[in-house]
Symmetry: C2
Subunit: 312 residues, 2 copies
């Protein structure tokens, strides 16, 4: 494992099992899911968003999240995370042994109402309830918040920088361990990523720890580079780019974990992830979801010879 305190360490969080599988037309069987996630851990991925505690009638792909989290938290003493929309979900995640939860809060009011049936600041209050409940439990569990639509919204368009800062500040005050800014619809550009990260960090410092970027417009890895420049050292990504964009069928969704790891490691940063082993985990993903189109440039072109020559 890479030294996660080293200056050149970058933490990659695999969100495919949640953000990806929830969009897939078919449902991956639970044993296949667990085998895939174990392979991801073995490849050195330090954190996995393994599922979400949402109503199974709305997202049947996530109905087995309790079982998956239980199985995975026996394999690792850290890094198993679940998305939870509310306190009840957080309690289920805690009971299943999750090491962290991530709560979605949309910066866009319209998106928030559509996604969680609550306004942005109602959802901030829900985060506060979750934090209070979690802090009263005997076991520690990290409470992260994913600020959806932080870089633009398909419903509201441009999101004002002041609004992003206000929501992030309220979340920090609510006690969130980490604020994650999410480019939910992929509208963000590198100049904007730098500006928003700097403005939010000026208010809440390192509580803004991670970016969740999409590749809808092809700018995903350029936006990662912008995030790195602004001091961010944690990024979400999805194996095979799994997880499309509901408003643009066929368009790219999440940035591709394999390509992200390739970029970071090529730049001399360290992720602790073995790219070859990651490509093997991709095989399990494809077997578990036959017919599902997977994206990724490294998968198409192969790992170039310079990758290992530079590392050697």
């Amino acid at each position: 494992m890479a030294d996660d305190h080293a200056e050149n360490y970058v933490k990659v969080c695999e969100v495919g099992p949640r953000d990806g599988l929830q969009m897939a037309p078919s449902i991956m069987p639970t044993p296949a899911k667990i085998a895939w996630l174990k392979k991801i851990l073995e490849a050195g991925v330090p954190e996995i968003e393994a599922g979400s505690f949402v109503p199974p009638r709305l997202v049947p792909q996530m109905a087995d999240t309790g079982d998956v989290i239980r199985a995975m938290s026996l394999c690792s003493d850290h890094g198993i995370c679940a998305l939870v929309p509310n306190l009840k979900g957080a309690q289920l995640a805690y009971d299943a042994g999750a090491h962290a939860v991530i709560v979605p809060v949309s910066v866009s009011e319209k998106h928030s109402l559509s996604n969680t049936r609550k306004g942005t600041f109602e959802q901030v209050a829900e985060v506060q309830s979750i934090v209070q409940w979690v802090r009263a439990q005997p076991r520690a569990m990290r409470v992260d918040v994913g600020c959806a639509t932080a870089f633009g919204c398909s419903m509201e368009g441009v999101i004002a920088l002041d609004r992003v800062v206000a929501v992030a500040s309220a979340l920090a005050r609510a006690g969130a361990d980490q604020v994650v800014l999410a480019d939910t619809v992929g509208y963000g550009n590198p100049a904007q990523i730098r500006a928003v990260v700097r403005a939010v960090r000026a208010e809440i410092g390192p509580v803004l720890g991670r970016l969740h970027l999409h590749d809808t417009m092809g700018l995903g890895l350029a936006n990662v580079l912008a995030g790195l420049d602004a001091g961010i050292r944690e990024f979400d990504s999805s194996m095979g780019g799994l997880g499309g964009c509901p408003f643009a069928p066929g368009a790219s969704g999440n940035i591709v974990t394999e390509d992200l790891v390739f970029m970071l490691e090529s730049m001399g940063l360290r992720t602790g992830i073995d790219l070859g082993a990651l490509m093997q985990a991709r095989v399990l993903l494809q077997q578990g979801l036959p017919g599902e189109p997977l994206r990724g440039n490294i998968a198409l072109a192969g790992i170039p010879r310079t990758y290992r020559e530079r590392a050697a």
Copy 2:
């Protein structure tokens, strides 16, 4: 047209008509090619690599380059460029009315021998002959040089930074108007782009004016961002990402012009290019090469609403 002296101006050079079409399995008819190129000019693209003067038996897709250059140089008093491997090609380009030529010189000796049947420094001498001949003509014609494999080579692997600097310096001494560093096989990463650009600029200053980046590993636009950070303000790209990678069938090749323009303009930089008009030119490209797969994220997802909201 955007003010090309403004600090936020970035020049985009469309290379699809040369670097893209030469790889296509079918041949675009000359009238379709000319109609497409005129549409690209109308969209505001300031420079087009319109073809290459290479033996038609080797590259039949480029057999009409003389006719294309002649037609296009009647439509524009600048920005019509041809690739030429040698003095004879430069003379043909001059006769056809080209405003610029670009001469390929591989930094990798093996790639150079395979591509032009000459070693790197033999080809530098060819550049010198071209410069001397062109300077003696009554009409001005820019002589650019494309340094292939500047960021890695499929045959030689890692290319030493000293070698890139030495080749670029020799080309500047040979009188090249502009040196273009090309990531021919897409092995480059952002940290490397910054390092190489800075090292070469330390030797030859703004004679290093442009980057030619590929998206083989998905890092194309991140590498553009790195180039921008290092002071580069000119980039090659190809409409629809036309132009694959011969050593990796099915893999991405050139960066996509539409996505590049989207990124630059979204960042507040100015290209003088109308993205909507560019998308219309893409329709002509597809009509001229039916069945040819075109890439591009903007084409899949559509121009997002925030693009025009920000500009307004």
